[in-house]
Structures are given as structure tokens and as C-alpha cells.
């Protein structure tokens, strides 16, 4: 109602304050939703507020978080990356077929997988920029090609990673599991990255490519870095995924493509570029994961999980569009 007519009085002041705080902290709605879900769950299950629970939930959500980290950077740039599905599949089959027991060999192949992920992403960036193609279509094609390559390496789920590698998800360091430490590293990375020149330029180009170019940034370089990082994080997601599954899966990556976009959007990242924060995406990934646990604890049909995920996505999108409208009004 207040979006169209000129707001006045107390409700309008509340609306403006809400829109302002949304604008400053785009993941506010996600945070409120996460707290609500966790509180609801704590009424149904014991041990929700324990370190063990944090370790377990993070272990479940980390693949999505890593994939969504790259997706967040691409979305902020104003693009989208569907090829992460192929990078994840390819990463798991390379790991499951090339990792031996020897830690040196594992480290070498892990590095090769990460480099391959970055390389594939960089290639996406080049194709998008030089051929002026839609990111959606370029990365859709990439997903298809990479899935085919993954299937030629491993036609079905199989292969194995060493036992010590597969134990990472549940290993403890100072009381926190490996995945929680990775999560902390992700957040630290983000606060560093968004203040770097590259981080600033990516966000600027997402808001307005023209002004970014006018200020001297190279679109080619921006796109290589953006999609390269997305591929790198997708490869990292693949490596972590093999610690969960202990195996290679040539089709598994598709399970993370749309959820990575959904996690970012629930976390307040704009699909139109220029706006977003990784902490929001991480909260979004937590929400999409914990929703399943809540449905389990409620003892209702598990079909409610996609229903609830959809409702949460809608709420997040509504809140985000509200914030965007207010931002546009302020800019005018």
C-alpha cells in the first residue's frame, strides 16, 4: 500500500525505518527466519543449542554454502552460473578416481581440481564477455558439457576417497568440526574480499556496468575473476562433498544449482546484481538445510519440506523487493 501512495504518520515511519534497516542489512529477514526456525525446532527436539548440533548442521549445509558462495559473487555481478553443477560433478569424479591413500597425491589432485574449477569459470567469463553471450546460456551449456565429461570418467556413482579424507566432516579441532572452521574461514574471506578493489569493482559492475567501465575497469577481467571464483568455490564444494559421500557422483552437481541461487536469494542477494552479502547466503543455506530438520522434528510428511522452502523463498523475495524499492526511492 505505502509503496504507491506517499506514506505519512506513524505506520509510514515504521515502514521507512524497516526499509532502511533492510537496506543496510539485506539479510535481516533471513536472520529473523532462521531464528524462528531454530526456536521452533528447539521446542520439539532437545540439544538444538549445542556445539554438537552446530557441527552436524554445518556439516550438512557446507556443500551448499560453498557452491552458493561462488553463486553469490556471480549474482552480485549481475550474472548467474549454472555450470557449477558440472564443476561439482566433475570434481567429485576426479577426486574419487585419482585420490590415492597418499596425502601428497591427494593434495596434488585437490589443487588440480580447484585449478580446473577456476579455469572452467574463467572460460565462462571469457565467452560471456568476448562473444557477448547470456551468462544463463553459456553456463547452461557448460553444465551440460561438464556433466558429459564427468559421465565418461565415471559412468555411475563409484570410486572412493581415502578414509581419512572422508572423516573430515565429523573431525573436531578445538571442539569445532572441520566444516565449522571452513565456515568461519568463508566469513573472514568475505569481509576481506568485499573491501578489495576486485570486490568493489564486481559489485559496482553489478549495479551498472557502464559506470564501472567509465571508471576504468575491464569487463573482461571482472568477468574472468567473477566466474573463475564461482568455479573455484564450486570445485571446493565438490572436494567437501566427497568427504560427505566418500565417492564420485557424475550427476550430483545438479542438486546444488538452483538451491545455490535460492540460498543467496533467501539471504537477500538481488537477482539483478549489485546487492548482496555472503553472510546472508550462509544464513539462507542454513535455513534451507534446517527446514528439513524441522519437518523431521514435527513428524509431518516430509513433503512439507519443499512447501516450506518455497514459502520462505517467497517471503525473502518480498522483503528484498521492498528493500529495493526503498533504495530506489532514496536514490531518486
Amino acid at each position: 500500500m505505502s509503496a504507491q501512495t506517499k506514506p505519512s504518520g506513524a505506520p509510514a515511519r515504521f515502514y521507512q525505518a524497516w526499509a532502511r534497516s533492510l537496506d543496510r542489512t539485506p539479510f535481516l529477514v533471513a536472520l529473523v527466519m532462521l531464528l524462528a526456525i531454530v526456536l521452533a525446532r528447539s521446542q520439539l527436539q532437545s540439544g538444538v543449542f549445542t556445539l554438537q548440533e552446530l557441527n552436524l548442521v554445518t556439516a550438512s549445509a557446507l556443500t551448499l554454502m560453498l557452491a552458493a558462495t561462488g553463486q553469490t559473487i556471480v549474482l552480485i555481478r549481475g550474472g548467474i552460473d549454472l555450470s557449477i553443477g558440472g564443476v561439482i560433478s566433475l570434481g567429485t569424479v576426479i577426486a574419487a578416481t585419482r585420490f590415492g591413500e597418499d596425502p601428497g597425491q591427494v593434495a596434488l589432485w585437490a589443487a588440480i581440481i580447484l585449478a580446473t574449477g577456476f579455469g572452467i569459470g574463467a572460460l565462462n567469463g571469457i565467452l560471456i564477455t568476448v562473444l557477448k553471450l547470456q551468462p544463463f546460456l553459456v553456463t547452461l551449456a557448460g553444465w551440460s558439457i561438464l556433466t558429459g565429461i564427468a559421465l565418461t570418467i565415471l559412468p555411475t556413482d563409484g570410486g572412493a576417497v581415502p578414509g581419512w579424507w572422508a572423516g573430515f566432516g565429523y573431525s573436531l579441532f578445538f571442539g569445532l568440526s572441520g566444516p565449522v572452521w571452513v565456515l568461519i574461514a568463508l566469513v573472514l574471506f568475505w569481509y576481506w574480499f568485499r573491501a578489495t578493489r576486485l570486490g568493489i569493482v564486481i559489485q559496482a559492475a553489478g549495479s551498472s556496468e557502464r559506470s564501472a567501465v567509465l571508471s576504468g575497469a575491464s569487463v573482461l577481467r571482472i568477468n574472468i575473476a567473477t566466474y573463475g571464483l564461482s568455479g573455484l568455490f564450486a570445485a571446493a564444494a565438490a572436494l567437501y562433498l566427497t568427504t560427505q559421500t566418500g565417492t564420485g557422483s557424475p550427476l550430483i552437481g545438479r542438486d546444488y544449482i538452483l538451491p545455490s541461487v535460492a540460498a543467496a536469494v533467501v539471504g537477500g542477494v538481488s537477482l539483478f546484481g549489485g546487492r548482496g552479502h555472503l553472510v546472508g547466503t550462509i544464513i539462507g543455506a542454513f535455513i534451507l538445510t534446517i527446514i528439513g530438520d524441522l519437518v523431521f522434528a514435527l513428524r509431518v510428511s516430509s513433503y512439507w519440506q519443499p512447501v516450506m522452502s518455497g514459502v520462505i523463498l517467497l517471503i525473502a523475495v518480498l522483503a528484498s523487493s521492498l528493500a529495493e524499492k526503498s533504495a530506489r526511492r532514496q536514490n531518486r
Binding site: 550438512s60 556413482d157 559421500t245 542438486d255 516430509s302
Partner: protein, 352 residues
Amino acid sequence: MRMRTMLLGGAVAAATMGAFQAPAVAADPYVIYLSNNFMGNDWRQQMIRSAEIAVKKGPLAGRVDLRIEQAEGTVQAQINSLNNIIREKPDAILIDAASQTALNPTVKRACDEGILVISFDQTLTEPCAYALSVDWDYTPRVLAEWVAEKIGGKGNVIIDRGLAGYEASIATTKATEEVLAKYPDIKIVGYFNGDFAPGPEQSGAAAVLAANPQVDAIVNMAYGTGAMQALKDAGRPMVPVTAFSFNGSAVACMETEGASCILGSNPPYLSAEAIKMAVEVLDTGKRPENRAILVPNSFFSTDPLPSKLFPETVIQKLEAGKNAFPDLSPGLFLPVSPDWVEITPQEAAGQS
């Protein structure tokens, strides 16, 4: 709050039961979870119905508190769901798996907690979990032998390779090829991916038929009705067809003029068999040595032929009202019931 106390009570009861290894019949029903990763086809729905019916009557009535958990089709969802189940420390977990290997580390954790794990249908390779299924090597061999004999050991055959990336598809195709290779005059002239769905089966078969003027038999991995339709559309005569035992396929084989079929089966009541096995193991405390548990296969045909490769094989003649049901859903899978409990065709079809 109430709920939490109840849950806690349940956990304590389960823990005590585990500690004393209560022999013979326990007073409380066993808590058994069934973790399923996919509900998008008729087979899985009948599988769930079979499980629900099997614990309501016959020898398992009142013995099992069956809790069904659906994980939305992805490996990650099933891992997360299993983590939730393990936390509840049930007596047993039955798994129709999203992947034969990717759940292994999670399932290992369940075993380490002392939970009995039985995978069925899409089984797991994890050594601590039982794998209950029909013999997937045997079934396609019987079908391939029948089709080879039916065309007199001579002719052109096309093969449905099922779904790419799916272990059972690869194994089934390999077994089919091995049997057909024993007949020097049989040539495999084409392959298609039927994707376990009638549409892709029909378009796949149609494309291979168009490229091959002479096709004498079609080996299908699912319905067979798509392939028969493709033959009709191409104006070709009916040729021997192998498929799996969908009621619709059985009825089409009986009612289509000139059709000649053999149907192999993968009974959805594998879930009920897994429950029965779990209760037996929990009752006796004795775990079978061999982790691979085979459930007998059934075969149906319009023209049963004796198998030379496997002389004990029984191929039932298709008969309306007896083993195929023209008035029930075409997606019903045959046979509908094991011999130790009666699941009626109507119950299996969800029409009772």
C-alpha cells in the same frame, strides 16, 4: 515441551532395549525407519504402500512402529535425513538409496551406533549394511535368452539402455549383451535410452527403428509399451519384446494383436521383505553372514519358454485377473504380494 519429554522417554527405552539385547518377542514394537529418496514413480509409491500394509496385518501386525522418511531426491537430502534418523537411535533403518556409494559414510555412522541397516532396491556397497534385492544379473539373462530363443537365435535386436549414470542400467545392459553374444546370428543393431519412462522409450525406439529397416526384437528396461507403440506408429509388425512387469505392460501384451512378451520383475514389496528381515534379526539377535540377500524373481510371459541357462526358472503364463489386472492401474507393478502376507492387488494399487 510435552513432545520433548516423550522423545526423551523413547530414547531411554531404545537405549535400555539395546543394552539388554532383549531376546525373543519384545513388548514394544520395534522402531523402524524407512528412508526413501524418491517418490516420483509408481514403483516407489507402491513400495511405500506395501510397507505400510505389511506392518498392519499378518505376522508383523503390531510388531513395528514404521516411520517413513522421504528425502527429496537428492543425495544431500538423504544424508541430512539419515543424520536426523540416527539421532533418534531407532532399532533399524531401511534404505532405498539415492546412490549406491554416496551414503556409505553416513550409513557407517548408523552401524557404529548399533543400528541395524538394511538397504533394498537401490542397495548400498557399505559392508556393514545388508543389501536386499532381486538378482539383477539373473533377470536380464532370462529375458535375453527368451528373446533370443523366441526369434530362433537369428536376427536384429535393439536394446534400451535405461537411464544414463544408473548402476542397474549398466549391469542389466551388460548381462543382456553377454547372453545375446552366445548367439552368433543375433546382431545388436541399435541402442536407445528409455529413461524408465514411456515417452523417452517410445521416441528412443522410434529413432532406432527408423534407422534400421529390419528389427526382430526389442529389449526394454521398463515399460515395453512405448516400444510397442513405436512399432505400431512405424507400421511395422509386432516383434518379441522384453520389459518389466508393469500391469499396463502385461495387459498390453495380452491385448495387442501379435504381441509376444516376457516381463521380468522387481517387486515393490521389497520394502515389506526388508521389514520382515529386520524384525527377524532383531528378534533372534542373529545377523545373517552374507550381506547380499536375494528375493526370488518372478517372470511373466505371453509365451513361456523353458530356460536352458537357468532350468529352475518358472515363467508364469500371463492371465487376466490372476496375475495381471485390466481393471487396475497400468502403473501397478507385478507381482503385488509376497507369500507370507496378503497384499491385495487393490491395496497395492492404492485403490482399496
